[in-house]
Protein backbone atom coordinates (compact mmCIF):
# COMPACT_ATOMS: atom_id res chain seq x y z
CA UNK A 1 0.00 0.00 0.00
CA UNK A 2 1.49 3.31 -1.01
CA UNK A 3 -0.46 6.22 -2.30
CA UNK A 4 1.85 9.13 -2.98
CA UNK A 5 0.51 12.63 -2.97
CA UNK A 6 2.80 15.44 -4.08
CA UNK A 7 1.50 18.84 -3.03
CA UNK A 8 2.99 21.86 -4.70
CA UNK A 9 6.61 20.70 -4.72
CA UNK A 10 8.91 23.63 -5.42
CA UNK A 11 12.68 23.33 -5.63
CA UNK A 12 14.79 26.46 -5.80
CA UNK A 13 18.57 26.35 -6.12
CA UNK A 14 20.60 29.57 -6.15
CA UNK A 15 17.54 31.61 -7.04
CA UNK A 16 16.60 29.37 -9.97
CA UNK A 17 13.29 27.56 -9.75
CA UNK A 18 13.92 24.02 -10.98
CA UNK A 19 10.57 22.56 -9.97
CA UNK A 20 7.57 24.84 -9.74
CA UNK A 21 4.48 23.99 -7.64
CA UNK A 22 4.34 20.43 -8.96
CA UNK A 23 1.31 18.53 -7.67
CA UNK A 24 -0.01 15.05 -8.49
CA UNK A 25 -1.31 11.84 -6.99
CA UNK A 26 0.01 8.34 -7.65
CA UNK A 27 -2.53 5.79 -6.38
CA UNK A 28 -1.47 2.42 -4.96
CA UNK A 29 -0.46 -0.04 -7.67
CA UNK A 30 -0.37 2.55 -10.45
CA UNK A 31 2.46 3.32 -12.87
CA UNK A 32 3.08 7.03 -13.38
CA UNK A 33 5.69 8.18 -15.87
CA UNK A 34 7.17 11.65 -15.98
CA UNK A 35 8.26 12.69 -19.47
CA UNK A 36 9.77 15.94 -20.65
CA UNK A 37 12.76 17.32 -22.52
CA UNK A 38 16.28 17.49 -21.07
CA UNK A 39 16.46 20.03 -18.26
CA UNK A 40 12.70 19.90 -17.62
CA UNK A 41 13.32 19.15 -13.92
CA UNK A 42 12.32 15.45 -13.90
CA UNK A 43 15.27 14.19 -11.91
CA UNK A 44 15.08 17.13 -9.49
CA UNK A 45 11.40 16.36 -8.88
CA UNK A 46 12.31 12.74 -8.11
CA UNK A 47 15.09 13.81 -5.80
CA UNK A 48 12.66 16.06 -3.94
CA UNK A 49 10.20 13.19 -3.47
CA UNK A 50 13.07 11.14 -2.02
CA UNK A 51 14.08 13.93 0.33
CA UNK A 52 17.49 14.25 -1.35
CA UNK A 53 17.07 17.93 -2.13
CA UNK A 54 15.53 20.76 -0.13
CA UNK A 55 12.03 21.61 -1.31
CA UNK A 56 8.91 23.41 -0.22
CA UNK A 57 5.48 21.88 -0.46
CA UNK A 58 4.59 18.44 0.77
CA UNK A 59 5.03 14.79 -0.12
CA UNK A 60 2.56 12.50 1.62
CA UNK A 61 2.60 8.71 1.69
CA UNK A 62 -0.87 7.39 2.46
CA UNK A 63 -1.70 10.79 3.87
CA UNK A 64 1.34 11.15 6.10
CA UNK A 65 4.64 12.92 5.78
CA UNK A 66 7.56 10.50 6.26
CA UNK A 67 11.29 10.91 5.94
CA UNK A 68 14.67 9.38 6.71
CA UNK A 69 14.71 5.68 7.48
CA UNK A 70 10.92 5.45 7.63
CA UNK A 71 10.75 6.83 4.08
CA UNK A 72 13.41 4.40 2.87
CA UNK A 73 11.43 1.46 4.27
CA UNK A 74 8.52 2.53 2.05
CA UNK A 75 10.22 3.98 -1.03
CA UNK A 76 13.01 2.39 -3.08
CA UNK A 77 15.05 4.40 -5.56
CA UNK A 78 16.84 3.14 -8.66
CA UNK A 79 18.92 5.99 -10.09
CA UNK A 80 19.75 6.42 -13.75
CA UNK A 81 23.22 4.94 -13.33
CA UNK A 82 23.39 3.17 -10.00
CA UNK A 83 26.80 3.37 -8.37
CA UNK A 84 28.58 0.02 -8.69
CA UNK A 85 31.56 0.02 -6.32
CA UNK A 86 34.39 -2.11 -7.77
CA UNK A 87 35.00 -5.26 -5.74
CA UNK A 88 31.52 -5.38 -4.21
CA UNK A 89 29.82 -8.72 -4.76
CA UNK A 90 26.25 -8.84 -6.06
CA UNK A 91 25.02 -10.45 -2.86
CA UNK A 92 26.64 -7.75 -0.69
CA UNK A 93 25.15 -5.09 -2.93
CA UNK A 94 21.63 -6.52 -2.65
CA UNK A 95 22.07 -6.81 1.13
CA UNK A 96 22.45 -3.01 1.26
CA UNK A 97 18.73 -2.87 0.47
CA UNK A 98 18.16 -3.92 4.10
CA UNK A 99 19.81 -0.72 5.37
CA UNK A 100 16.60 1.08 6.43
CA UNK A 101 15.50 -2.00 8.37
CA UNK A 102 18.60 -2.10 10.62
CA UNK A 103 19.36 -0.03 13.72
CA UNK A 104 22.75 1.72 14.01
CA UNK A 105 24.28 -1.08 16.06
CA UNK A 106 21.97 -3.70 14.58
CA UNK A 107 22.94 -6.63 12.43
CA UNK A 108 20.98 -8.59 9.87
CA UNK A 109 18.48 -11.08 11.25
CA UNK A 110 17.26 -14.27 9.62
CA UNK A 111 14.40 -12.17 8.32
CA UNK A 112 16.84 -9.84 6.53
CA UNK A 113 18.78 -12.70 4.96
CA UNK A 114 15.52 -14.26 3.80
CA UNK A 115 14.58 -11.00 2.08
CA UNK A 116 17.98 -10.82 0.38
CA UNK A 117 17.79 -14.41 -0.84
CA UNK A 118 14.27 -13.90 -2.09
CA UNK A 119 15.27 -10.76 -3.98
CA UNK A 120 18.13 -12.67 -5.65
CA UNK A 121 15.72 -15.45 -6.59
CA UNK A 122 13.00 -13.11 -7.91
CA UNK A 123 15.51 -11.33 -10.16
CA UNK A 124 17.10 -14.67 -11.14
CA UNK A 125 20.51 -13.62 -9.84
CA UNK A 126 21.50 -16.84 -8.07
CA UNK A 127 24.34 -17.49 -10.49
CA UNK A 128 25.61 -13.94 -10.35
CA UNK A 129 25.58 -13.70 -6.53
CA UNK A 130 29.36 -13.88 -6.14
CA UNK A 131 30.16 -11.67 -9.16
CA UNK A 132 31.71 -8.22 -8.81
CA UNK A 133 28.96 -5.62 -9.46
CA UNK A 134 31.39 -3.50 -11.46
CA UNK A 135 31.85 -6.34 -13.95
CA UNK A 136 28.17 -6.70 -14.87
CA UNK A 137 26.63 -5.77 -18.22
CA UNK A 138 24.07 -2.96 -18.36
CA UNK A 139 21.07 -5.29 -18.26
CA UNK A 140 22.50 -7.37 -15.41
CA UNK A 141 23.29 -4.20 -13.49
CA UNK A 142 19.68 -3.00 -13.77
CA UNK A 143 18.46 -6.38 -12.52
CA UNK A 144 20.83 -6.17 -9.57
CA UNK A 145 19.68 -2.62 -8.77
CA UNK A 146 16.07 -3.83 -8.91
CA UNK A 147 16.96 -6.76 -6.65
CA UNK A 148 18.28 -4.29 -4.09
CA UNK A 149 14.97 -2.43 -4.29
CA UNK A 150 13.10 -5.73 -3.85
CA UNK A 151 15.23 -6.59 -0.79
CA UNK A 152 14.29 -3.18 0.59
CA UNK A 153 10.65 -4.36 0.59
CA UNK A 154 9.45 -0.89 -0.30
CA UNK A 155 5.94 -0.43 -1.66
CA UNK A 156 6.78 2.51 -3.89
CA UNK A 157 9.43 2.26 -6.57
CA UNK A 158 10.99 5.42 -7.99
CA UNK A 159 13.02 4.90 -11.15
CA UNK A 160 15.10 7.47 -13.00
CA UNK A 161 15.44 6.54 -16.67
CA UNK A 162 15.43 2.77 -16.05
CA UNK A 163 16.17 1.87 -19.67
CA UNK A 164 18.98 4.33 -20.40
CA UNK A 165 21.93 2.69 -22.10
CA UNK A 166 20.23 -0.68 -22.62
CA UNK A 167 19.72 -2.42 -25.95
CA UNK A 168 16.17 -2.95 -27.10
CA UNK A 169 16.00 -6.51 -25.76
CA UNK A 170 17.29 -5.51 -22.31
CA UNK A 171 14.87 -2.56 -22.31
CA UNK A 172 11.94 -4.90 -22.80
CA UNK A 173 13.30 -7.34 -20.24
CA UNK A 174 13.74 -4.64 -17.58
CA UNK A 175 10.31 -3.16 -18.27
CA UNK A 176 8.72 -6.61 -18.00
CA UNK A 177 10.54 -7.25 -14.70
CA UNK A 178 9.37 -3.96 -13.22
CA UNK A 179 5.82 -4.50 -14.40
CA UNK A 180 5.86 -8.07 -13.05
CA UNK A 181 7.01 -6.82 -9.65
CA UNK A 182 4.36 -4.12 -9.66
CA UNK A 183 1.57 -6.60 -10.35
CA UNK A 184 2.85 -9.28 -7.96
CA UNK A 185 3.40 -6.89 -5.05
CA UNK A 186 0.91 -4.07 -5.77
CA UNK A 187 3.84 -1.66 -6.04
CA UNK A 188 3.30 1.94 -6.96
CA UNK A 189 5.77 2.92 -9.69
CA UNK A 190 6.92 6.43 -10.53
CA UNK A 191 9.47 6.67 -13.34
CA UNK A 192 11.07 9.24 -15.58
CA UNK A 193 11.61 8.18 -19.17
CA UNK A 194 13.02 9.49 -22.42
CA UNK A 195 11.63 6.73 -24.60
CA UNK A 196 8.10 7.92 -25.29
CA UNK A 197 6.94 4.67 -26.90
CA UNK A 198 7.91 2.61 -23.87
CA UNK A 199 6.47 5.30 -21.58
CA UNK A 200 3.17 5.22 -23.47
CA UNK A 201 2.98 1.43 -23.38
CA UNK A 202 3.70 0.78 -19.70
CA UNK A 203 2.15 3.76 -17.93
CA UNK A 204 -1.29 4.19 -16.42
CA UNK A 205 -0.66 7.91 -16.19
CA UNK A 206 1.79 10.08 -18.11
CA UNK A 207 2.85 13.53 -16.88
CA UNK A 208 4.52 15.94 -19.28
CA UNK A 209 6.91 18.27 -17.48
CA UNK A 210 8.73 21.28 -18.86
CA UNK A 211 10.43 24.26 -17.23
CA UNK A 212 9.82 22.68 -13.84
CA UNK A 213 6.05 22.72 -14.26
CA UNK A 214 3.42 20.09 -14.86
CA UNK A 215 2.16 20.77 -18.38
CA UNK A 216 -0.28 17.97 -18.85
CA UNK A 217 -1.31 14.87 -16.92
CA UNK A 218 -3.46 12.05 -18.27
CA UNK A 219 -3.48 8.77 -20.12
CA UNK A 220 -0.76 8.14 -22.69
CA UNK A 221 -3.26 8.91 -25.47
CA UNK A 222 -3.98 12.34 -23.96
CA UNK A 223 -0.39 13.37 -23.32
CA UNK A 224 1.75 11.71 -25.97
CA UNK A 225 0.41 13.65 -28.93
CA UNK A 226 2.28 15.14 -31.90
CA UNK A 227 1.21 18.63 -30.83
CA UNK A 228 2.39 18.43 -27.21
CA UNK A 229 5.60 16.60 -28.16
CA UNK A 230 6.25 19.11 -30.91
CA UNK A 231 5.64 22.08 -28.63
CA UNK A 232 7.70 20.90 -25.66
CA UNK A 233 10.43 18.75 -27.21
CA UNK A 234 10.78 20.76 -30.41
CA UNK A 235 10.45 17.48 -32.28
CA UNK A 236 8.38 16.40 -35.24
CA UNK A 237 6.80 13.05 -34.49
CA UNK A 238 4.02 10.83 -35.68
CA UNK A 239 2.04 8.91 -33.06
CA UNK A 240 0.39 5.77 -34.37
CA UNK A 241 -1.76 3.21 -32.61
CA UNK A 242 -1.30 -0.50 -33.41
CA UNK A 243 -3.98 -3.21 -33.46
CA UNK A 244 -3.39 -3.90 -29.73
CA UNK A 245 -4.14 -0.27 -28.95
CA UNK A 246 -0.49 0.53 -28.12
CA UNK A 247 0.95 3.91 -29.02
CA UNK A 248 4.15 4.23 -31.03
CA UNK A 249 6.02 7.49 -31.27
CA UNK A 250 8.01 7.77 -34.47
CA UNK A 251 10.36 10.65 -35.18
CA UNK A 252 9.83 12.26 -38.56
CA UNK A 253 12.67 13.61 -40.61
CA UNK A 254 12.78 17.27 -39.70
CA UNK A 255 11.46 19.24 -42.69
CA UNK A 256 13.16 22.56 -42.05
CA UNK A 257 16.58 21.23 -41.10
CA UNK A 258 16.63 18.83 -44.03
CA UNK A 259 15.49 21.45 -46.52
CA UNK A 260 18.09 24.05 -45.59
CA UNK A 261 20.84 21.45 -45.87
CA UNK A 262 19.60 20.60 -49.37
CA UNK A 263 19.41 24.26 -50.35
CA UNK A 264 22.99 24.86 -49.26
CA UNK A 265 24.04 22.15 -51.64
Amino acid sequence: MSHLSAQGITVEVDGRVLVDSFAFDAPTGSWTTIIGPNGAGKTTLIRAMLGLVRYSGGVLLDGRSVNGRALARRVAYVPQRPERPPGMRVVDYVTLGRTPHLGYFGRESERDWAAVNEALAVMDLGELAARDVASLSGGEAQRVALARAVAQEATLLILDEPTTGLDIGRQQEVMALIDGLRRARSLTVIATMHDLTIAAQVSDVVMLMNGGRLIHRGSAGDVVTPDLIGEHYGAEVAVITDEDGHLHVIPKRSGTAGRSMMEQR
Binding site: Y77, G87, T99
Partner: protein, 341 residues
Amino acid sequence: MTSHPSRLPARWVVTASALVAIAAAVGVMVGPASLTVGNIIGAVGDRWLGIEATVPLTPAQDAILWDIRLPRVVLGMIVGGGLAVSGAAYQGVFRNPLADPFLLGVAAGAGLGATIGIVFGLDRALLPLLAFVGAVAGVSAAYLLGFSLRTGRSAGALLLAGVAVAAFLTAVQTYLQQLNSDALRDVYSWILGRLSTTGWREVVLVLPYVAIGIAVLLASRRWLDVLALGDEEASALGLDVGKTRTVVIAAATLVTAASVAVSGLIAFVGIIVPHILRLLVGTSYRRLIPLSILGGGAFLALADVLARSIQQPAELPIGVVTAFIGAPFFALVLRTSGRQP
Protein backbone atom coordinates in the same frame (compact mmCIF):
# COMPACT_ATOMS: atom_id res chain seq x y z
CA MET B 1 24.82 -19.89 -2.04
CA THR B 2 24.72 -19.77 1.74
CA SER B 3 21.95 -18.09 3.63
CA HIS B 4 24.32 -15.62 5.37
CA PRO B 5 26.37 -14.51 2.44
CA SER B 6 27.81 -11.24 3.71
CA ARG B 7 29.27 -12.33 7.03
CA LEU B 8 32.96 -12.44 7.78
CA PRO B 9 34.19 -15.99 7.09
CA ALA B 10 35.61 -17.63 10.22
CA ARG B 11 38.71 -18.83 8.39
CA TRP B 12 39.89 -15.26 7.87
CA VAL B 13 39.49 -14.40 11.53
CA VAL B 14 41.36 -17.56 12.51
CA THR B 15 44.19 -16.86 10.03
CA ALA B 16 44.54 -13.23 11.14
CA SER B 17 44.45 -14.20 14.81
CA ALA B 18 47.14 -16.82 14.22
CA LEU B 19 49.25 -14.13 12.56
CA VAL B 20 48.80 -11.90 15.60
CA ALA B 21 49.86 -14.73 17.92
CA ILE B 22 52.96 -15.44 15.81
CA ALA B 23 53.87 -11.75 15.72
CA ALA B 24 53.47 -11.56 19.50
CA ALA B 25 55.66 -14.61 20.04
CA VAL B 26 58.39 -13.35 17.70
CA GLY B 27 58.13 -9.91 19.28
CA VAL B 28 58.82 -11.14 22.80
CA MET B 29 61.46 -13.70 21.78
CA VAL B 30 63.75 -11.55 19.64
CA GLY B 31 66.16 -9.17 21.29
CA PRO B 32 69.64 -8.89 22.86
CA ALA B 33 68.70 -11.43 25.55
CA SER B 34 66.87 -14.10 23.63
CA LEU B 35 64.00 -16.04 25.10
CA THR B 36 62.88 -19.42 23.78
CA VAL B 37 59.38 -20.58 22.97
CA GLY B 38 59.69 -22.89 25.99
CA ASN B 39 60.60 -19.93 28.24
CA ILE B 40 57.55 -18.02 27.11
CA ILE B 41 55.07 -20.89 27.34
CA GLY B 42 56.43 -21.68 30.80
CA ALA B 43 56.24 -18.08 31.95
CA VAL B 44 52.73 -17.53 30.58
CA GLY B 45 51.52 -20.81 32.14
CA ASP B 46 53.09 -19.81 35.43
CA ARG B 47 51.63 -16.30 35.57
CA TRP B 48 48.19 -16.73 33.99
CA LEU B 49 47.32 -20.38 34.60
CA GLY B 50 49.16 -21.06 37.83
CA ILE B 51 51.10 -23.99 36.35
CA GLU B 52 54.63 -24.01 37.74
CA ALA B 53 57.25 -23.85 34.97
CA THR B 54 59.82 -26.68 34.84
CA VAL B 55 62.61 -24.22 34.04
CA PRO B 56 61.59 -20.92 35.65
CA LEU B 57 62.87 -17.63 34.19
CA THR B 58 65.68 -15.81 35.91
CA PRO B 59 64.54 -12.54 37.53
CA ALA B 60 66.29 -10.64 34.70
CA GLN B 61 64.48 -12.68 32.02
CA ASP B 62 61.22 -12.23 33.88
CA ALA B 63 61.66 -8.45 33.85
CA ILE B 64 62.65 -8.45 30.16
CA LEU B 65 59.57 -10.46 29.22
CA TRP B 66 56.90 -8.76 31.34
CA ASP B 67 58.17 -5.21 31.74
CA ILE B 68 60.11 -4.53 28.53
CA ARG B 69 59.19 -6.78 25.59
CA LEU B 70 55.54 -7.57 26.20
CA PRO B 71 54.44 -3.94 26.79
CA ARG B 72 56.25 -2.96 23.62
CA VAL B 73 54.65 -5.73 21.58
CA VAL B 74 51.22 -4.88 22.96
CA LEU B 75 51.73 -1.19 22.24
CA GLY B 76 52.83 -2.03 18.68
CA MET B 77 49.68 -4.07 18.19
CA ILE B 78 47.41 -1.36 19.57
CA VAL B 79 49.04 1.36 17.45
CA GLY B 80 49.29 -0.82 14.34
CA GLY B 81 45.72 -2.08 14.61
CA GLY B 82 44.53 1.45 15.37
CA LEU B 83 46.31 3.08 12.41
CA ALA B 84 45.22 0.32 10.02
CA VAL B 85 41.57 0.37 11.03
CA SER B 86 41.48 4.17 10.98
CA GLY B 87 42.96 4.07 7.50
CA ALA B 88 40.27 1.66 6.34
CA ALA B 89 37.59 3.86 7.91
CA TYR B 90 38.91 7.04 6.27
CA GLN B 91 39.07 5.25 2.92
CA GLY B 92 35.44 4.23 3.37
CA VAL B 93 34.21 7.66 4.37
CA PHE B 94 36.05 9.43 1.56
CA ARG B 95 35.47 6.64 -0.98
CA ASN B 96 39.11 6.94 -1.83
CA PRO B 97 41.54 4.05 -1.41
CA LEU B 98 44.41 6.51 -1.01
CA ALA B 99 42.91 8.28 1.99
CA ASP B 100 44.92 7.67 5.12
CA PRO B 101 44.47 8.38 8.81
CA PHE B 102 46.82 11.36 8.60
CA LEU B 103 44.45 13.18 6.29
CA LEU B 104 42.43 16.10 7.69
CA GLY B 105 45.31 17.41 9.77
CA VAL B 106 45.83 14.63 12.33
CA ALA B 107 49.52 14.30 11.52
CA ALA B 108 50.16 18.01 11.10
CA GLY B 109 48.31 18.80 14.35
CA ALA B 110 50.10 16.09 16.31
CA GLY B 111 53.42 17.19 14.82
CA LEU B 112 52.81 20.79 15.87
CA GLY B 113 51.74 19.73 19.37
CA ALA B 114 54.84 17.62 19.87
CA THR B 115 57.10 20.32 18.37
CA ILE B 116 55.71 22.90 20.80
CA GLY B 117 56.46 20.52 23.65
CA ILE B 118 60.01 19.89 22.44
CA VAL B 119 61.08 23.43 21.51
CA PHE B 120 59.67 24.94 24.70
CA GLY B 121 61.44 22.27 26.73
CA LEU B 122 58.32 20.97 28.43
CA ASP B 123 58.32 17.75 30.41
CA ARG B 124 58.60 14.79 28.03
CA ALA B 125 55.71 13.10 29.81
CA LEU B 126 53.48 15.85 28.38
CA LEU B 127 54.36 15.10 24.74
CA PRO B 128 51.61 12.50 24.18
CA LEU B 129 49.02 14.89 25.59
CA LEU B 130 50.25 17.78 23.42
CA ALA B 131 50.35 15.59 20.31
CA PHE B 132 46.87 14.26 21.04
CA VAL B 133 45.43 17.73 21.59
CA GLY B 134 47.16 18.97 18.42
CA ALA B 135 45.79 16.07 16.35
CA VAL B 136 42.21 16.52 17.58
CA ALA B 137 42.45 20.29 17.14
CA GLY B 138 43.75 19.85 13.59
CA VAL B 139 40.85 17.64 12.55
CA SER B 140 38.31 19.83 14.33
CA ALA B 141 39.61 22.86 12.45
CA ALA B 142 39.38 20.98 9.14
CA TYR B 143 35.86 19.89 9.99
CA LEU B 144 34.67 23.37 10.92
CA LEU B 145 36.24 24.83 7.81
CA GLY B 146 34.73 22.07 5.65
CA PHE B 147 31.27 22.75 7.07
CA SER B 148 31.54 26.46 6.40
CA LEU B 149 32.28 25.91 2.70
CA ARG B 150 29.44 26.33 0.25
CA THR B 151 29.54 22.69 -0.76
CA GLY B 152 28.54 21.88 2.80
CA ARG B 153 29.01 18.43 4.22
CA SER B 154 30.43 16.75 1.14
CA ALA B 155 33.50 14.54 1.44
CA GLY B 156 35.33 16.63 -1.15
CA ALA B 157 34.86 19.86 0.83
CA LEU B 158 36.23 18.17 3.93
CA LEU B 159 39.28 16.87 2.08
CA LEU B 160 40.10 20.32 0.72
CA ALA B 161 39.67 21.84 4.17
CA GLY B 162 41.99 19.13 5.55
CA VAL B 163 44.64 20.00 2.98
CA ALA B 164 44.45 23.70 3.90
CA VAL B 165 44.60 23.07 7.65
CA ALA B 166 47.45 20.56 7.33
CA ALA B 167 49.48 22.97 5.19
CA PHE B 168 48.96 25.78 7.70
CA LEU B 169 49.84 23.69 10.77
CA THR B 170 52.90 22.24 9.05
CA ALA B 171 54.06 25.76 8.19
CA VAL B 172 53.73 26.82 11.83
CA GLN B 173 55.57 23.69 12.94
CA THR B 174 58.40 24.23 10.45
CA TYR B 175 58.73 27.86 11.54
CA LEU B 176 59.00 26.87 15.22
CA GLN B 177 61.54 24.24 14.27
CA GLN B 178 63.67 26.74 12.34
CA LEU B 179 63.61 29.19 15.26
CA ASN B 180 64.89 26.42 17.52
CA SER B 181 67.29 24.49 15.34
CA ASP B 182 68.88 22.80 18.37
CA ALA B 183 65.63 20.90 18.79
CA LEU B 184 65.62 19.69 15.15
CA ARG B 185 66.96 16.25 15.94
CA ASP B 186 64.38 15.59 18.65
CA VAL B 187 61.51 16.82 16.51
CA TYR B 188 62.71 14.78 13.56
CA SER B 189 63.01 11.62 15.61
CA TRP B 190 59.51 12.12 16.96
CA ILE B 191 58.11 12.60 13.47
CA LEU B 192 59.70 9.39 12.18
CA GLY B 193 57.92 7.42 14.85
CA ARG B 194 59.06 4.94 17.45
CA LEU B 195 57.67 2.42 19.86
CA SER B 196 59.57 2.98 23.04
CA THR B 197 57.91 2.11 26.24
CA THR B 198 58.42 2.70 29.90
CA GLY B 199 56.71 -0.38 31.27
CA TRP B 200 52.98 -0.43 30.68
CA ARG B 201 52.51 3.33 30.95
CA GLU B 202 51.97 4.02 27.23
CA VAL B 203 49.67 1.03 26.84
CA VAL B 204 47.47 2.22 29.68
CA LEU B 205 47.55 5.74 28.24
CA VAL B 206 46.24 4.89 24.75
CA LEU B 207 44.14 1.79 25.34
CA PRO B 208 40.91 3.50 26.46
CA TYR B 209 40.81 5.88 23.47
CA VAL B 210 41.74 3.23 20.94
CA ALA B 211 39.26 0.75 22.43
CA ILE B 212 36.36 3.21 22.30
CA GLY B 213 37.22 4.34 18.78
CA ILE B 214 37.60 0.79 17.49
CA ALA B 215 34.30 -0.26 19.07
CA VAL B 216 32.52 2.56 17.21
CA LEU B 217 34.26 1.68 13.93
CA LEU B 218 33.31 -1.99 14.30
CA ALA B 219 29.70 -0.98 14.88
CA SER B 220 29.81 1.31 11.82
CA ARG B 221 31.39 -1.14 9.40
CA ARG B 222 28.18 -2.00 7.51
CA TRP B 223 27.41 1.71 6.99
CA LEU B 224 30.75 2.17 5.27
CA ASP B 225 29.55 -0.30 2.63
CA VAL B 226 26.40 1.80 2.20
CA LEU B 227 28.53 4.96 1.81
CA ALA B 228 30.34 3.20 -1.05
CA LEU B 229 27.16 3.82 -3.08
CA GLY B 230 27.69 7.58 -2.85
CA ASP B 231 25.86 10.15 -0.74
CA GLU B 232 22.68 10.17 -2.79
CA GLU B 233 21.97 6.44 -2.92
CA ALA B 234 23.08 6.04 0.70
CA SER B 235 20.59 8.75 1.74
CA ALA B 236 17.85 7.11 -0.33
CA LEU B 237 18.54 3.92 1.65
CA GLY B 238 17.74 5.85 4.82
CA LEU B 239 21.32 6.42 6.01
CA ASP B 240 22.00 9.78 7.65
CA VAL B 241 25.13 10.36 5.58
CA GLY B 242 26.34 13.48 7.39
CA LYS B 243 25.92 11.95 10.84
CA THR B 244 27.52 8.66 9.85
CA ARG B 245 30.49 10.43 8.31
CA THR B 246 30.94 12.56 11.44
CA VAL B 247 30.74 9.56 13.77
CA VAL B 248 33.24 7.52 11.74
CA ILE B 249 35.69 10.41 11.30
CA ALA B 250 35.47 11.24 15.01
CA ALA B 251 36.15 7.63 16.01
CA ALA B 252 39.00 7.18 13.50
CA THR B 253 40.51 10.49 14.60
CA LEU B 254 40.37 9.49 18.26
CA VAL B 255 42.17 6.24 17.47
CA THR B 256 44.78 7.91 15.24
CA ALA B 257 45.40 10.80 17.62
CA ALA B 258 45.92 8.45 20.58
CA SER B 259 48.20 6.22 18.49
CA VAL B 260 50.43 8.99 17.16
CA ALA B 261 50.54 10.60 20.59
CA VAL B 262 52.60 7.71 21.94
CA SER B 263 54.31 6.48 18.78
CA GLY B 264 54.92 9.50 16.58
CA LEU B 265 53.97 9.55 12.92
CA ILE B 266 54.35 5.96 11.75
CA ALA B 267 53.72 6.18 8.04
CA PHE B 268 52.07 3.81 5.61
CA VAL B 269 50.35 1.37 8.00
CA GLY B 270 46.94 2.96 7.43
CA ILE B 271 47.23 2.57 3.67
CA ILE B 272 49.17 -0.63 3.15
CA VAL B 273 47.35 -2.93 5.57
CA PRO B 274 43.78 -2.22 4.34
CA HIS B 275 45.05 -2.42 0.74
CA ILE B 276 46.64 -5.82 1.12
CA LEU B 277 43.49 -7.04 2.86
CA ARG B 278 41.34 -5.67 0.04
CA LEU B 279 43.32 -7.73 -2.44
CA LEU B 280 42.87 -10.82 -0.28
CA VAL B 281 39.31 -10.61 1.04
CA GLY B 282 37.53 -8.07 -1.18
CA THR B 283 36.36 -4.53 -0.59
CA SER B 284 33.54 -5.00 1.91
CA TYR B 285 34.13 -3.03 5.10
CA ARG B 286 32.38 -5.74 7.06
CA ARG B 287 35.54 -7.74 6.51
CA LEU B 288 38.10 -4.96 6.18
CA ILE B 289 37.38 -3.26 9.50
CA PRO B 290 37.83 -6.28 11.81
CA LEU B 291 40.68 -7.77 9.75
CA SER B 292 42.52 -4.42 9.60
CA ILE B 293 42.67 -4.38 13.40
CA LEU B 294 44.29 -7.82 13.51
CA GLY B 295 46.43 -7.37 10.39
CA GLY B 296 47.68 -3.92 11.42
CA GLY B 297 48.56 -5.19 14.88
CA ALA B 298 50.59 -8.10 13.52
CA PHE B 299 52.25 -5.93 10.86
CA LEU B 300 53.49 -3.26 13.25
CA ALA B 301 54.64 -5.74 15.90
CA LEU B 302 56.76 -7.52 13.26
CA ALA B 303 58.03 -4.22 11.83
CA ASP B 304 59.15 -3.28 15.32
CA VAL B 305 61.13 -6.52 15.62
CA LEU B 306 63.07 -5.45 12.52
CA ALA B 307 63.42 -1.87 13.77
CA ARG B 308 65.16 -3.01 16.91
CA SER B 309 67.23 -5.87 15.47
CA ILE B 310 68.70 -4.57 12.19
CA GLN B 311 71.15 -2.05 13.71
CA GLN B 312 71.66 -3.46 17.17
CA PRO B 313 72.16 -1.98 19.67
CA ALA B 314 70.79 1.12 17.93
CA GLU B 315 67.16 1.26 16.81
CA LEU B 316 65.84 2.28 13.42
CA PRO B 317 62.83 4.58 13.45
CA ILE B 318 59.88 2.24 12.94
CA GLY B 319 58.33 4.59 10.36
CA VAL B 320 61.39 3.94 8.17
CA VAL B 321 60.89 0.18 8.51
CA THR B 322 57.15 0.26 7.73
CA ALA B 323 57.80 2.22 4.56
CA PHE B 324 60.93 0.31 3.62
CA ILE B 325 59.37 -3.16 3.77
CA GLY B 326 55.84 -1.99 3.18
CA ALA B 327 56.32 -0.29 -0.16
CA PRO B 328 58.03 -3.15 -2.04
CA PHE B 329 55.69 -5.72 -0.51
CA PHE B 330 52.76 -3.60 -1.51
CA ALA B 331 54.08 -3.31 -5.06
CA LEU B 332 54.54 -7.07 -5.19
CA VAL B 333 50.99 -7.73 -4.05
CA LEU B 334 49.66 -5.27 -6.62
CA ARG B 335 51.65 -6.92 -9.38
CA THR B 336 50.83 -10.51 -8.57
CA SER B 337 47.16 -10.00 -7.87
CA GLY B 338 44.73 -9.91 -10.74
CA ARG B 339 42.15 -8.11 -8.64
CA GLN B 340 41.39 -4.43 -8.68
CA PRO B 341 43.01 -2.54 -5.79
